[in-house]
């Protein structure tokens, strides 16, 4: 078989298969009204989340931006279902020095009511390599704050699992990017 025939047949196969995937992506974004691209550029994230950051620190943050790890910054939502609380909490995760800190921004109950949170720091990620991380998660139980060692596992760029095991009390929370 001629090399040109091999080349054209191969290109046709690749275009056909990849084309199907991209057509479905475009079709889905058309029907759901979502953005065409599912790329969440970290730089864009920084700009879209400026509501939560002061302008000075924001510009500093962009200058110190590390694209391998800092894409984790932004607004995240975690759902909870326990005897004490059923609903969701909106967090803002930002880089402060060499660590990432998450602050509670808003509480949402199952009926859709929301209440602004006091902005307490709930999570500090001390080490993060872009996929996994380690840190401290603060939890209030019976009026006392407990600092629990926790692990971060990125599921994809828009989801991570936060897991902790504290004297036999273990749980895994799923945080979704908003």
């Amino acid at each position: 078989m001629k090399n040109s025939t091999l080349l054209f047949r191969s290109l046709a196969i690749i275009i056909l298969i990849a084309g199907v995937a991209h057509l479905v992506r475009l079709g889905r974004s058309y029907t759901t009204g979502e953005s065409v691209s599912y790329t969440t550029s970290p730089i864009v994230d920084e700009h879209t989340n400026t509501d939560f950051t002061e302008s000075d620190s924001n510009s500093k943050k962009i200058l110190n931006y590390n694209e391998n790890t800092d894409y984790i910054t932004g607004t995240w939502l975690a759902n909870y279902k326990s005897a004490e609380f059923e609903g969701a909490v909106l967090y803002h995760l930002k880089k402060e020095g060499r660590v990432f800190n998450a602050y509670a921004m808003e509480y949402q109950d199952v009926h859709g009511n929301s209440q602004k949170a006091e902005g307490h720091k709930v999570l500090t990620i001390k080490r993060f390599d872009g996929y996994k991380g380690k840190g401290v998660y603060k939890m209030e139980y019976k009026g006392k704050i407990h600092n629990m060692d926790c692990s971060i596992d990125m599921v994809d760029e828009n989801t991570f699992k936060l897991s902790y095991d504290y004297y036999g009390y273990s749980d895994v929370e799923t945080w979704k990017r908003q």
Partner: protein
């Protein structure tokens, strides 16, 4: 149907499915099948010392391959793939069934070309000849790899990452193709039904690929789908009884010699030819290439 196929999936679920299909298949499919093959050999009075040492050598070469593969794989996925994905890629594709299926198809097509390159480029054959050097054909042969066997898949899968597929999904799909390929290394299964033999790569097609009979050389490169070979002119059906191995047998089960014999033969050939250009061409041209005047 399209709605269901394009529904967004959770990474954690997809990774679990691939874990069951890729990682656990060794326990629930490959090892039990290999045991079955050993029983068959024993029943046919073919369970020779050579076969046992050949199988051990195959598994030991896998250890060497794994070390190189893991180092390269980690580097490729964590650095190169993500860098390309973030800088030179079409819009990123959402994780859904269509993305997974098309990614597996593309990984399979990339496997075809990568495999073809391994046979038709001197440096490729220097490492891939290890896989073909066994004169037996069973599951253990699937684990017989050369020292540089992990490089070609990385190079050939970069275009898939550039097409917008997630690097981790590309890697998982590649491993899936490899696991499917592993299952084809058997003499237990004869020919399957005609539609299956027409579309899919089967043990029969792959026996041909491992044949040293002249008409079987450089045929049936496929991973999962044999239609790539049919479309690109490299298909050959199994007719004559297959004689396994390579044209210049290594006649040893020493795992070190098995693992490095291709590279060592390539260096010897390079030493034989004169001039830098010819030495380079020995690496890039087909394995049987020799300059018109080697001196």
């Amino acid at each position: 149907m399209v709605e269901m196929l394009s529904e967004k999936l959770e990474w954690i679920d997809v990774q679990y499915w691939f874990y069951v299909l890729n990682d656990l298949s060794l326990l629930y499919l490959i090892i039990p099948f290999f045991v079955l093959e050993l029983i068959r050999y024993a029943f046919l009075k073919q369970l020779t010392k050579d076969l046992i040492f050949d199988s051990i050598a195959s598994v030991l070469t896998y250890g060497g391959f794994l070390v190189v593969g893991i180092l390269l794989g980690l580097l490729a996925v964590t650095k190169v793939y993500f860098w390309i994905h973030n800088n030179f890629s079409l819009p990123h594709l959402e994780l859904n069934w269509v993305t997974i299926l098309t990614c597996v198809l593309l990984a399979d097509f990339a496997y075809y070309w990568e495999h073809r390159a391994m046979h038709r480029i001197g440096i490729g054959w220097a490492t891939h000849t290890v896989h073909h050097s066994s004169e037996h054909f069973n599951m253990s042969v699937a684990y017989r790899f050369g020292p540089l066997d992990a490089i070609m898949p990385i190079i050939f899968s970069i275009p898939i990452v550039m097409l917008g597929f997630d690097p981790v999904l590309v890697l998982l799909s590649e491993v899936f193709v490899q696991v499917f390929q592993t299952l084809l290394h058997t003499e237990i299964i004869g020919k399957l039904t005609k539609p299956v033999e027409f579309i899919f790569n089967t043990p029969s097609h792959h026996r041909v690929h491992h044949g040293s009979n002249r008409q079987y050389w450089d045929k049936n490169y496929a991973g999962i789908l044999i239609i790539w070979d049919r479309m690109l002119g490299t298909f050959e059906p199994e007719v004559e009884k297959v004689k396994y191995g390579i044209s210049q047998p290594i006649n040893t089960n020493n795992p070190i010699i098995v693992f490095f014999h291709g590279i060592s033969r390539l260096f010897k050939k390079m030493k034989k030819v004169k001039g830098f250009k010819n030495k380079l061409l020995v690496c890039l041209k087909p394995p049987d290439w020799m300059p018109a005047d080697p001196k």
